[in-house]
């Protein structure tokens, strides 16, 4: 009897291994485990087995059944996977048909660069402030140590609304406004539009600037260098060299003009840098004590630095744009590139 079961088990095993389709597996299932199957027949005859053998015989029979079932389901699953894969192969799609999407718009390159610059300075603890674009002559010039009849006013061509009201020529106008309303310490950046009465191949009458300033006890000129170095290295890469040159702005002293090594030719000399290897990118300096006096700060207690940059200039260098007039023509062939 026991041998008998072993034989059935072995035979079933062999047959299942040999089966070559899902169909033959299903047939084998019926042959062994179906209502009239071989193993089912043995189970039915269990009742007629002697009492003392019944328990042991039943256990072995059940074991064989589980064994065959396992084997069957394993092979069944394998054949099913095979068949599914065959079906999937026939459902090939053309992956080269264009995808569906609502095309997103483009942020203006000036906004993109401005946002990047703002995030660098906010990460350094600067707050963003704004001021009016139509500005009092006082904040644009006088409070910045440029009284009327001062030749330094020649450095900028100004649009006038009235004798005392101008379109701001720089975002430095925000400096004194902020200082008037706040006590130090201050860490502020002021981005925005500025205007110059000037239009030719390299000038447009409206452009963007970002002014930054920091006022506290014990702010040094070396700190100005450090902060601007962080900024330049973030925007143009850590290998960019900086060069500080003495310059003149009525509202800073000492004043500096900052050049970076040419991002186009890496300093070897090219058209963009007029073969000097350097590009002028920022104006900066230590805040002139006269500005503190105008704002009511004690220049013996506080020092600070300020810097300003033209955003279009940075944008042009960053993307290699060679014509500033493209910025506000709003040609989609330009805007769509950014």
């Amino acid at each position: 009897m026991l041998n008998d079961i072993q034989t059935i088990k072995n035979l079933a095993g062999e047959e299942i291994e040999k089966a070559d389709s899902l169909k033959s597996i299903q047939e084998l299932k019926i042959k062994y485990l179906g209502k009239k199957g071989i193993l089912t027949g043995k189970l039915k005859s269990l009742g007629s087995t002697p009492q003392e053998d019944r328990r042991e015989y039943g256990r072995i029979l059940n074991e064989a059944k589980i064994c065959i079932e396992d084997l069957l389901s394993k092979h069944e699953a394998a054949f099913k996977t095979l068949e599914l894969n065959k079906t999937l192969q026939t459902q090939r799609i053309d992956v080269t048909v264009p995808g569906y999407f609502i095309p997103a718009g483009h942020l203006h390159p000036t906004t993109q660069v401005l946002d990047e610059i703002i995030s660098i300075f906010t990460s350094l603890g600067f707050n963003v402030e704004e001021g009016p674009e139509v500005e009092l002559d006082f904040y644009n010039f006088e409070a910045l140590n440029m009284p009327k009849d001062h030749p330094a006013r020649d450095m900028q061509d100004t649009f006038y609304i009235t004798e005392d009201i101008v379109l701001r020529t720089h975002t430095s106008s925000v400096q004194v406004r902020i200082m008037e309303k706040n006590a130090p310490p201050l860490r502020v950046i002021a981005p925005g539009k500025v205007y110059r009465c000037d239009a030719d191949v390299t000038h447009i009458p409206m452009f963007h600037q970002l002014e930054g300033f920091m006022v506290d006890r014990d702010i040094k000129m070396s700190d100005l260098k450090g902060v601007l170095e962080v900024f330049i290295h973030t925007v143009f890469g850590p290998d960019t060299k900086l060069r500080f040159r003495p310059s003149f702005f009525p509202f800073t002293e000492p004043s500096a003009e900052i050049d970076i090594s040419c991002v186009i030719c890496k300093g070897a000399g090219c058209n963009v840098c007029k073969n000097t290897g350097w590009l002028e990118i920022l104006g900066a300096g230590m805040i002139n004590p006269r500005i503190f006096e105008m704002a009511g700060y004690d220049p013996d207690q506080y020092t600070g630095f300020a810097f300003g940059m033209g955003i279009e200039r940075v944008t042009m260098l960053k993307y290699g744009i060679d014509d500033i007039r493209l910025f506000y023509e709003n040609d989609i062939r330009f805007l769509g590139q950014f």
């Binding site: 609304i161 310490p185 205007y195 000129m221």
Partner: protein, 684 residues
């Protein structure tokens, strides 16, 4: 300021090549903007900043070079031999405007062309050669920075020079043959009877040196910078003289330059030099400025030795005396820009070398950064618009006032109150804009002309409206525009572009957390530049905050645009901040399933989708969870004045699973209601 390399070498010994010199000057604050080789010499084009008038001459730049390179400076010797007689009497009537006036006469001169070397120097530095006498005055100006003027002595009435303002004198003919309109505060030089020069700006035709001149008077003076600048600006004359006077000349150099010129004229044009007449009532007092070594080092972030400080300052011609923990510094008369210790620190930094200052990061206390709601608002708005497929444009803030006519704005529209620019670049663009729409229409027109097909733009910018305060109101607006042609989704191309913009508005309001808003088609409040049937006002909390709609065909036409254009306009972006809903509140997830039923009805064209929604919800707002429009159909077999609307209605109870019987009864109530209130027919 142009400067000859060879001429500079006459004043100081240095071994640098022109290129090396240019670099050294640039790194000391005198940016060399260009170089030009001319016959064995090189001209350097040096940008002299407004604070350094002392360097608007060869001598000044040479003095600076000797300080930068630490090489000796060679002064030229001036020696006026054989002085005889005296020139006219000088009277300064407006002494605050003229602090020094000196003159010498030279009698028996022979006007003629100058020697070749002199002409060459003048011409290479941008001066036109004239008679020798005038050439010498220009030469001395170039060399020593002091503007001089030569009068024909015999044309001066009454042997007298008077320095006073124009007063009631109305016009004056300058030597360029122009009649100049005088202001009463303009400073003039007079003889006994008439004005003979615009002081410091330009001489007069009546006393000009000519070929027949025999005796000349040379003027050397110090005029008040602001006064000269006002005259020069008012009359729109910038001369080599006025440029230097308005920046400030060296008052102690006035007589020296005069002597140099007199000597040269006598040598070149012959003649006898008179004694000096020099009216200088209050000699310049040198400043004494205290500067502490500790302040120098702490401000610059360096450690410089006291001996180096002294050496640098002395090389610049500053006298120094040690005092306590610093110095008493006396800057020379040619440096009136040095007023306080910071000015001295700047000079030290400049010659010490900015490149030697280290880069450090400031020690600062951490402060919480205040939230800038306005910036956040602008950023959120821009991002929402980008996501809806609109690209950002930026337009100029000024526009042509007559574009407002093109927009059909009535005469009393407040956007016709303009802020005008006194000196616009182009006459037409003379006002600050009060609407973003015209520029956007121009942007669309330009891009259509380039053959672009899909145009969807937006702009976030300020408009400028006059106010009762001194400065105009600057209001941040957002406007978007589209030509309703989404070629990327051709199968959708038949829909009305209005809904693109409406979708963008919905996106925007979702991001800005504005939940309650209405679109009202009230003809009386609709913008005159919009299509009366395809536009509406956007209402938030009872306030009209913007407009949405298709541009009126007349308006598109006046901007040379064919086809339909839709716009969205928010009049004051910041106002939206008042309407932002407070934070989101979580609602528990439903525990029981929903049942969905559709209903398709035929209604008159006038019935709005919003009306149907309201009617459906009014039947049972607790059990009806959502009503969604999924089809609008017009055309056969629907009658012409009607449309078919299909809605999907979702039913759900919070506390139980709804039975079919319950839903059936609700649904038929809804159908009944639509039939009764909206005269709807059920579509079979």
């Amino acid at each position: 300021m142009k400067a000859s390399y060879k001429w500079l070498k006459e004043f100081t010994d240095f071994l640098l090549s022109p290129k090396e010199l240019a670099h050294a000057l640039t790194m000391a604050g005198f940016e060399v903007e260009g170089m030009e080789d001319i016959e064995g010499d090189t001209l350097l084009d040096i940008n002299v900043t407004p604070n350094r008038p002392d360097c608007l001459c060869i001598k000044g730049i040479a003095r600076e070079i000797s300080a930068i390179l630490e090489v000796p400076f060679k002064a030229i010797t001036i020696d006026v031999r054989k002085q005889e007689g005296r020139g006219p009497e000088i009277e300064i009537k407006d002494s605050p405007l003229c602090k020094r006036y000196a003159s010498r006469t030279i009698s028996g001169v022979k006007p003629a062309p100058s020697p070749a070397w002199l002409i060459k120097r003048l011409e290479s530095h941008g001066f036109r050669a004239s008679y020798n006498i005038v050439d010498v005055t220009n030469y001395v100006l170039l060399e020593m920075g002091q503007p001089l003027h030569a009068f024909d002595l015999d044309k001066l009435a009454g042997q007298k020079i008077v320095v006073k303002t124009a007063g009631s004198e109305k016009t004056f003919r300058t030597l360029d043959d122009e009649d100049r309109k005088l202001g009463k505060d303009m400073l003039l030089i007079w003889d006994a009877k008439k004005p003979v020069a615009l002081a410091g700006v330009m001489g007069g035709q009546n006393t000009e040196v000519s070929l027949s001149t025999v005796n000349v008077l040379i003027e050397s003076a110090y005029f008040h910078p602001a006064s000269i600048r006002r005259t020069s600006k008012t009359l729109n004359i910038t001369s080599e003289s006025s440029y230097r006077f308005e920046r400030g000349v060296d008052i102690d150099n006035v007589a020296k330059a005069l002597d140099r010129a007199a000597q040269m004229i006598a040598e070149i044009a012959g003649g006898r030099v008179s004694n000096l007449t020099d009216i200088y009532p209050e000699p310049y007092e040198l400043k004494k400025i205290i500067v502490r070594t500790e302040k120098i080092n702490s401000l610059l972030g360096i450690e410089i030795k006291e001996s180096s400080i002294q050496k640098i300052l002395n090389s610049l011609g500053f006298e120094t005396k040690r005092e306590g923990e610093g110095f008493i510094v006396t800057p020379p008369s040619f440096r009136p820009d040095i007023q306080r210790d910071m000015d001295i620190i700047e000079e030290l930094a400049r010659l010490y070398g900015y490149d030697k200052i280290p880069a450090t990061l400031p020690c600062i206390k951490v402060q919480p950064a205040p939230v800038n709601k306005r910036q956040d608002l602008i950023r959120t708005t821009k991002n929402a618009m980008i996501r809806s497929g609109f690209s950002e444009v930026i337009n100029y803030s000024f526009f042509k006032p007559d574009t407002l006519d093109k927009l059909n704005l009535p005469p009393d529209d407040k956007r016709r109150n303009l802020v005008f620019i006194k000196n616009p670049l182009r006459k037409e663009e003379s006002a600050m804009r009060t609407s973003l729409i015209p520029a956007l229409l121009n942007n669309v027109s330009l891009n259509l002309n380039h053959g672009e097909k899909d145009i969807s733009f937006f702009e976030v910018s300020r408009v400028f409206l006059p106010s009762d305060l001194k400065l105009p109101d600057e209001i941040i607006q957002m406007a978007a525009i589209s030509n309703n042609n989404k070629s990327a989704m051709l199968w959708e191309s038949k829909h009305d572009g209005f809904y693109d913009l409406k979708g963008a508005l919905e996106n925007l309001f979702r991001d800005l957390k504005i939940k309650q808003y209405y679109l009202i088609q009230d003809t009386s409040s609709i913008e005159p530049y919009l299509h009366p049937g395809k536009s509406c006002s956007i209402i938030v909390n009872g306030e009209k905050i913007g407009s949405l709609g298709t541009i009126h065909p007349h308006v598109s036409e006046s901007f040379d645009i064919k086809g339909s254009i839709t716009i969205l306009e928010i009049y004051d972006l910041e106002k939206l901040l008042e309407h932002v809903s407070s934070g989101t509140t979580f609602v528990s997830l439903p525990k029981f399933p929903y049942v969905e039923r559709d209903v398709a009805i035929i209604v008159s064209n006038e019935v709005l989708v919003e009306q149907v929604n309201r009617e459906i919800l009014s039947v049972d707002s607790d059990l009806i969870e959502a009503v969604t429009l999924f089809d609008i159909y017009t055309g056969k077999p629907i009658p012409q004045d009607k449309k078919s609307l299909a809605f999907s209605i979702r039913y759900r109870a919070a506390d139980r699973t709804l039975t079919d019987a319950e839903v059936d009864s609700l649904h038929s109530n809804i159908v009944e209601r639509l039939k009764n209130t909206l005269n709807a027919e059920l579509r079979g």
